[in-house]
Amino acid sequence: SLQFVPPYTEDCRTEMYPPRGPTFQSAVTWYTVNLDSPPSKRWTEIITDKKDELVSMVQAIKDLADAFVPSGRLEELIDKALPMMIDTLPYPFNEEMKGIATASGVPLGEVILFNIFYEIFTV
């Protein structure tokens, strides 16, 4: 049973496993990343599969940036300034991000923003 007022706390659920029903959206695909590969090549298989979804997610973040700064200056800052810091980021993560930008066609600045979002988001 569920209380129909926030926070909609419900009685402890049981028998939910194996996952199914309205709270289960889908399973998760497995991939292998070979750490012996050059960093810029490691994520190519995953990004090739998930390219459209990554582009769509980055676009949603850009739309958000434009909502905050309609002039588009924030987006310009992301695409121009962030790539300048790529070589200050630790190896091999900087090389892996370059490979992700190449494999997805997403501008490097936006890949970097996605990867440092945790620190940025605390703003």
């Binding site: 569920l2 926030p6 926070p7 909609y8 706390t9 419900e10 009685d11 402890c12 659920r13 049981t14 028998e15 939910m16 496993y17 996952p19 309205p22 709270t23 289960f24 959206q25 889908s26 399973a27 998760v28 695909t29 497995w30 991939y31 292998t32 990343v33 070979n34 750490l35 012996d36 994520w43 995953i46 990004i47 599969d49 998930k50 979804e53 990554l54 769509s56 997610m57 949603a60 973040i61 958000l64 909502a67 810091m85 200050t88 980021l89 630790p90 993560f93 892996e96 992700i100 997805s104 890949v111 996605f114 990867n115 440092i116 945790y118 620190e119 940025i120 988001f121 605390t122 703003v123």
Partner: protein, 253 residues
């Protein structure tokens, strides 16, 4: 986010988490959902990181994100991180970084390095407790022995009030949402109380991957920000993840 590590009566450790993300980043009125949360769900992947064709660690990731939020070093330790809010936040760390003061670590690159290089619970715990960070965070770490689990509450420079499993004292699980464990959570966002109520109702006798999944499926522990649930058992080297949905009525966070 809600992360927990529980010890069953046989000393096995179960580590599980809901990853909730996308708060205030755009609300879709039509679908009653968060824009970024829904964009992240299709990016969720499980990754087996291998070297010399052997598994080094496994993780649940967002494709395109090279850091780690959820991972297992099979048979050694398990690690999840939850977001911590503090006025001395990441924007200060980023500013210092831009100004050239670069002695801190980006949170998700630290967790990636720990999963890739640490070879024991104690080593992982030391790295996660002592390394200077750009942003505050909660690290929830499980080991491979009875009693090995802790919540590491991190400011950018210190580890505050580490909380350890203490089965003899009746603490057979540790649970972290997004508030310091020694303070009350924000009343508007109390997921800790319902989660602990359900863990206590389950009891240690009945704790398992299945019943932990039940706890993480109970509203508001499950909410509109929940992208995935991951379940890990270090003794089996097992990690499984599921993309979640929260049917209405459901808390936005």
């Amino acid at each position: 986010c809600t992360s927990l590590v529980a010890e069953d009566p046989r000393g096995n450790l179960i580590h599980a988490r809901n990853l909730d993300f996308g708060l205030f980043l755009g609300w879709d009125m039509k679908n009653h959902s968060w824009v970024i949360t829904e964009k992240l769900k299709p990016l969720v992947v499980n990754v087996d990181f291998r070297r010399n064709n052997k598994t080094v660690f496994k993780s649940t990731n967002f494709a395109g994100y090279v850091g780690m939020l959820t991972g297992i070093r099979p048979y050694l330790f398990t690690l999840t991180m939850n977001e911590r809010f503090s006025l001395d936040g990441g924007y200060i760390g980023v500013l210092e970084w831009i100004l050239g003061k670069r002695d801190g670590r980006w949170m998700s690159f630290l967790t990636r390095s720990v999963l890739e290089n640490a070879t024991s619970y104690e080593e992982a715990k030391k790295l996660l407790s002592d390394t200077k960070l750009l942003a505050p965070a909660y690290f929830i770490l499980g080991g491979n022995q009875s009693g090995e689990a802790c919540i590491i509450t991190r400011s950018r420079t210190h580890s505050l009030n580490p909380l350890e499993l203490d089965v003899k004292q009746g603490r057979w699980y540790v649970l972290e949402t997004n508030y310091d464990h020694w303070k009350k959570p924000l009343f508007l966002d109390d997921r800790r109380t319902p989660a602990m109520k359900c863990m206590n109702q389950t009891t240690q006798t009945n704790i398992s991957i299945k019943t932990v999944y039940d706890v993480l499926s109970t509203k508001p522990v499950l909410n509109k920000l929940t992208t995935y649930t991951t379940l890990m058992e270090v003794s089996k080297g097992n990690l499984e993840s599921y993309i979640r949905a929260c049917p209405n009525p459901c808390m936005p966070w």
